[in-house]
C-alpha cells in the first residue's frame, strides 16, 4: 500500500477501536473489520482497494493485526475467549476492559477483581460490589462463584472478613494478611461515621 493508504487504513482501524471503546465495548479484529467495512473504508478512493480490498479475509486480518500492534494508544490482550481484543485506554481503561472481558465468567471476574484490589490499593472489597454495575451479578451468581472458589485449589487465597456492621469483605491472602484485611474492612465500614 502507499503511505497514504496505510495511514488511512490505520486511521480507520484505530477509529473503529476507539468507537467501540467509546461505546463501552472491547473490539476483536472481526469487529474492527466489520466496522471498517460498514464505513466503506475499502471503497474509499485512497487506494485501499488495490491491495487490502483484493486481499482474502485472512490477509486483511493479518494486515489489521500488524497495524493495531503498533497503533499508538491502542491496547491489546488475549481475552477469555482466546481472541485478541482491543481497546483505547483513554476511553476504556485497562481495569474496565478486564472486567468486560471476564463478565461471562463470574468466578474469574470476582477472583481477579478481589486479587487486584488486595494487591494494588490494598483493600478487601465488599461483596455488594459485585451486585452493582458494571459487574451486575445476581445474588445466586455471586453465591455460586464463592462456592466455586471455596471448592477449587486455584482460589484458596480468596477469603473473607466480616465487619462489625455484618458486611462481608473479600480479599486475597496472597496480598493481604487476615488481620490487616479485617482492619481495612472495619475502617471502610466506619467511613460514614467518620466524615
Amino acid at each position: 500500500m502507499t503511505c497514504d493508504a496505510t495511514a488511512a487504513f490505520t486511521g480507520a482501524a484505530v477509529e473503529a477501536v476507539r468507537e467501540a471503546s467509546r461505546q463501552g465495548r472491547l473490539a476483536t479484529r472481526e469487529d474492527v473489520l466489520a466496522a471498517m467495512e460498514a464505513e466503506g473504508v475499502f471503497l474509499s478512493p485512497v487506494g485501499l482497494e488495490a491491495e487490502a480490498q483484493a486481499a482474502p479475509p485472512e490477509g486483511r486480518d493479518a494486515l489489521l493485526a500488524a497495524v493495531l500492534a503498533t497503533a499508538p494508544d491502542i491496547i491489546a490482550f488475549q481475552g477469555l475467549s482466546g481472541q485478541t481484543v482491543y481497546h483505547a485506554p483513554d476511553l476504556l481503561s485497562r481495569t474496565y476492559a478486564r472486567i468486560l472481558d471476564r463478565k461471562g465468567s463470574p468466578l474469574l471476574l470476582m477472583a481477579e477483581e478481589i486479587r487486584a484490589n488486595s494487591r494494588d490499593y490494598p483493600r478487601p472489597v465488599p461483596v455488594e460490589l459485585f451486585g452493582a454495575p458494571p459487574f451486575g451479578l445476581a445474588p445466586e451468581e455471586i453465591e455460586q462463584a464463592l462456592r466455586g472458589m471455596a471448592a477449587s485449589p486455584d482460589y484458596q487465597d480468596i477469603t473473607f472478613t466480616t465487619a462489625h456492621t455484618g458486611a462481608v469483605y473479600l480479599f486475597s491472602t496472597r496480598h493481604l494478611e487476615q488481620s490487616y484485611a479485617a482492619f481495612l474492612a472495619q475502617r471502610a465500614e466506619s467511613l460514614v461515621m467518620n466524615p
Binding site: T95, Y96, D120, Y121, A182
Partner: protein, 705 residues
C-alpha cells in the same frame, strides 16, 4: 507600595453594637499581610481583644471574614471564617474560628466588604442590615426566640430574595457554647453562635450589587478556572469514582464520588437522570450525593438536587425530600446538609432499626438537619452525640439528672431507635432546658466542669474519639498516622484540617499516592497506607506542616479546605497530579500581588504562627508542648493489644510521637522543648511586633529558664 486592586472588595466593616457606630477600614492597608479570613480575625483579636477576655464578655469580638478569592469564579471559594474567643474551648476559652460556606461570603463582597468586625453589645436584640453602602442596625425583637428558618424568611422578605442571611437560633440566643451561625439554610459555622447571641445580634442580612475586579489577565484567569475544574474530583477531592467506570483506571468503594449515569434525583420535579460521561466537566455536580454516600441507595429517590456554595460545582449539601417527615413528625419534608450536619440526628443512636442506612436512619437524619439547623445547634464534630451515648450507657444521666427530668426523657424511644426521640432531646439542648440541656450544650467541657467527669478518662475511651480541650479528633491517626496526630495537637478546637485526609482518602492506590507524595513532599515515605504505619520521618513532618499551612491559607482566602488542596486529580493523562501551586496562581491573578507558592505558603505560615502566638498569650504559658499539644491516651492503645507499626492498628508509639513533635517543631522553626515559636521565627514571618509583645510577657522560649 503600589497596590493593584483586585480580589479584595476593599473595605472592612466595623460595627460597634454598644454605640451603634458603623465605620470602615481599608482591607489591604490594614490587613493585607494577613490575607483575610482567619488571618484578619487573628489580627483583630491580637490587636484589640485583651488576653483573658471571655467568650461572652463585651470585650470579645466576632470577625466575619472572607478572603481574596471568595466571590470570584474560583471553584470552591464560598467560605467565610468567623473568628473569636471560642466558647467551647475548655478549660479556658481561647482563639478559634468557625467556618461556613453558602452564599454569605460572595454577597458580602459584592456589597463591598471583605469582613465585618462585630464588637460591643447591643442593648436590645438587633439584626444587621447591609445593602451595599447602606448599613443599619435594625430591631430584632420580633425575631428573638425564633429559629433560623423563620429569621431567614422574615429578613429575606424584608430585603429581597437575593440577600444572604446569617443567623443564630435559640441555642445562640441562650449563649450555648455549642451554637452555630447558619446562612443559606444549612451552611453553619460551629461554636460561634453563642458569641453572636451574647451581643444581642440575631442575624446579618447582606445584599450586594457590586462586582469584584480581577487584577490579572482575564484570559489567563479563565484558563486557570477551567484547569481547576478539570482537576476536580468529587466531595473531599475524592478523585476516583466509588465504582469502576469506563474512563477510570481506579475506583474506591469508599469514595464520595457516587454519581453515575443512570442514577436519578428522584424527588426533583421532574426527576433528573444523570446522563453522559460522569468525567465530563459539565457533570461535576452529579458526582457527589452526600446523602447517598451516608445513607445508601435509598437516598437517590429522595434527592431533589445538590445544593452548595457560590462558585462551587461540587454541591455537597444534598437536598432531600421525605414526605413522611410531615406526616409522621410534623416537620418540613425538605432538608439539606452534608457530612456531620447531615448525620446530626442519626448519630444520637447507637443502633437503628434497619441499620445505619435504613429508613429510620434517613428519618433521623432529616429530623436532625431540620431541627439543628433551625435551632442553631453545633454537634462539636459529632462529639455531642458520642458524649450523649457514653453518658447514657455509663448511667451518668441517671445519676446526675434530677429524677423528674430523667423520667421525662423518652428513653424507651432512644433504646428502640425511634427517630421521634429527637423531637424531645434536640429542643432540650437547643433551648438549654434542664440540667441536661445546660450541660450538653456546653460541649465536653460541660461534662468535665459540671459533673466532675475527668478529661483524662474521657480521652482514654477510644469510642469517644475525644482529643483535648473540649473537642474531638478530626482526621487523626485513624487516617494518617503521625501527620494526623500532629495536626490534631495544634488548634484550640477540633482541627478541621482536611489537607492531609483529602489526599490519603482520595481513592488512588497506595503506590500512586506514594509516587505523588514523593514529588510533593520529597519522599514516598511521607505517606503510609492507613493502619500500616511506619516510624516517623522528616518528610511526614514536612507534610504535616504543609497540611496545616494550606488549611490556614484556605481559611484566609475563602477557599474550601473540605475540598482542597488539589494536589491529586482524576486525570490519568496527568499521572493523577493536581496542582500544588493553584492557590498562589489564583491569588496572584486575582489581587495583582505576585506571590509564588513558597511566598504564599509563607504568608499562610505567618497566619498560623499568629494563631499560635494568640494561644500562648491567652494561656499565659510558653510551654505549648506540655500544656497544649496534648495527645489522648487512646491513641497509644489498641483494643486487641496490637503493637504500634503492625499492619491493622492505628496505635501510635509514645516515643515515636514525641520524635514526631520534635521534627514538626523543627520544620516550623520553633523551639523543640516548648513547641513555641522563637523570636527568630516571628521575625522571619514579619511578626517582629508579636515576638516583642510576647517577650515583654516572658512568653518567648528563649526566656524560659
Amino acid at each position: 507600595m503600589t497596590i493593584t486592586a483586585g480580589g479584595f472588595a476593599g473595605k472592612v466593616l466595623r460595627v460597634d453594637l454598644s454605640t451603634g457606630k458603623i465605620s470602615t477600614l481599608d482591607t489591604r492597608e490594614k490587613y493585607g499581610a494577613m490575607l483575610g479570613g482567619t488571618g484578619l480575625g487573628y489580627q483583630v483579636l491580637w490587636e484589640e481583644v485583651p488576653a483573658g477576655t471571655g467568650p461572652f464578655d463585651v470585650a470579645n469580638k466576632l470577625i466575619f471574614a472572607t478572603g481574596a478569592l471568595a466571590g470570584t469564579s474560583v471553584p470552591c471559594s464560598g467560605r467565610t471564617a468567623i473568628t473569636t474567643i471560642f466558647p467551647s474551648c475548655w478549660p479556658k476559652a481561647l482563639v478559634g474560628s468557625g467556618h461556613m460556606g453558602g452564599q454569605f461570603a460572595a454577597k458580602l463582597k459584592y456589597a463591598g466588604y471583605d469582613a465585618i468586625i462585630v464588637e460591643g453589645k447591643a442593648e436590645r436584640p438587633v439584626w444587621l442590615f447591609i445593602r451595599d453602602g447602606r448599613v443599619e442596625l435594625r430591631d430584632a425583637a420580633f425575631l428573638w426566640g425564633s429559629g433560623i428558618h423563620r429569621t431567614t424568611l422574615e429578613i429575606s422578605q424584608e430585603m429581597g430574595a437575593d440577600c444572604a442571611v446569617a443567623a443564630i437560633g435559640q441555642a445562640g440566643e441562650k449563649l450555648a457554647p455549642l451554637a452555630t451561625v447558619v446562612n443559606s439554610l444549612s451552611h453553619s459555622a460551629g461554636g460561634v453562635g453563642g458569641v453572636m447571641g451574647s451581643k444581642n445580634l440575631k442575624a446579618i442580612g447582606v445584599q450586594g450589587s457590586g462586582g469584584l475586579r480581577i487584577a490579572g489577565n482575564k484570559e489567563q484567569w479563565e484558563r486557570l478556572v477551567k484547569f481547576h475544574l478539570s482537576i476536580l474530583g468529587a466531595n473531599n477531592q475524592h478523585v476516583v469514582p466509588s465504582f469502576p467506570t469506563p474512563e477510570s483506571e481506579y475506583y474506591n468503594p469508599g469514595s464520595r464520588w457516587v454519581g453515575e449515569p443512570g442514577k436519578r434525583w428522584g424527588a426533583a420535579r421532574p426527576p433528573v437522570e444523570i446522563t453522559g460521561s460522569i468525567h465530563d466537566m459539565s457533570r461535576i455536580a452529579y458526582r457527589t450525593n452526600s446523602a447517598a454516600f451516608f445513607l445508601g441507595e435509598q437516598a437517590w429517590k429522595h434527592t431533589v438536587r445538590g445544593n452548595g456554595c457560590t462558585s462551587c460545582p461540587i454541591r455537597c449539601h444534598t437536598t432531600l425530600k421525605v414526605p413522611a417527615m410531615a406526616t409522621k413528625y410534623g416537620l418540613d419534608e425538605v432538608a439539606q446538609g452534608t457530612c456531620i450536619a447531615l448525620n446530626f440526628g442519626r448519630f444520637f443512636f447507637p443502633t437503628l432499626p434497619g441499620g445505619p442506612k435504613g429508613e429510620a436512619a434517613l428519618e433521623a437524619c432529616m429530623i436532625g438537619m431540620n431541627m439543628a439547623d433551625d435551632m442553631g445547634i453545633w454537634s462539636n464534630y459529632g462529639q455531642l452525640q458520642r458524649d450523649f451515648i457514653k453518658l447514657s450507657r455509663d448511667g451518668v444521666f441517671q445519676a446526675k439528672l434530677g429524677s423528674a427530668e430523667y423520667a421525662a426523657i423518652p428513653w424507651d424511644k432512644w433504646r428502640a431507635g425511634d427517630p421521634a426521640f429527637l423531637l424531645d432531646i434536640i429542643p432540650r439542648i437547643g433551648e438549654r432546658r434542664g440540667e441536661l440541656g445546660q450541660v450538653l450544650s456546653e460541649g465536653s467541657g460541660g461534662l468535665f466542669g459540671h459533673w466532675g467527669i475527668s478529661e483524662e478518662a474521657w480521652g482514654a475511651d477510644h469510642a469517644t474519639t475525644y482529643w483535648k480541650m473540649g473537642h474531638p479528633k478530626h482526621h487523626a491517626n485513624e487516617d494518617d498516622g503521625q501527620c494526623g496526630v500532629i495536626i490534631n495537637t495544634q488548634y484550640n478546637r477540633d482541627a478541621q484540617c482536611h489537607s492531609h485526609t483529602n489526599f490519603v482518602r482520595n481513592g488512588l492506590p497506595v503506590h500512586e499516592q506514594k509516587r505523588l507524595a514523593g514529588e510533593l513532599w520529597g519522599s514516598p515515605d511521607s505517606v503510609d497506607a492507613p493502619g500500616h504505619y511506619t516510624r516517623m520521618n522528616k518528610y511526614k513532618a514536612q507534610r504535616a506542616k504543609w497540611a496545616l499551612i494550606r488549611k490556614e491559607l484556605h481559611d484566609c482566602l475563602g477557599l474550601c479546605n473540605w475540598m482542597g488542596p488539589w494536589v491529586a486529580s482524576p486525570l490519568k493523562e496527568r499521572g493523577y497530579r493536581g496542582d500544588n501551586s493553584l492557590e498562589s496562581r489564583f491569588f496572584s491573578l486575582a489581587t495583582g500581588m505576585d506571590l509564588d507558592r513558597e511566598e504564599l505558603d509563607a504568608a499562610g505560615e505567618r497566619v498560623f504562627t499568629l494563631h499560635r502566638a494568640l494561644t500562648i498569650r491567652d494561656m499565659e504559658t510558653v510551654d505549648m508542648r506540655a500544656q497544649h499539644d496534648h495527645v489522648p491516651r487512646w491513641v497509644y492503645e489498641d483494643p486487641k493489644g496490637a503493637q504500634p507499626f503492625t499492619p491493622g492498628t492505628i496505635r501510635m508509639d509514645r516515643d515515636d510521637i514525641s520524635r514526631a513533635m520534635d521534627m514538626f517543631y523543627e520544620v516550623m522553626g520553633w523551639d523543640k522543648s516548648t513547641g513555641a515559636p522563637t523570636r527568630e521565627a516571628y521575625a522571619r514571618l514579619g511578626l517582629v511586633d508579636v515576638g516583642a509583645a510576647l517577650q515583654a510577657k516572658n512568653l518567648l522560649p528563649e526566656d524560659k529558664p
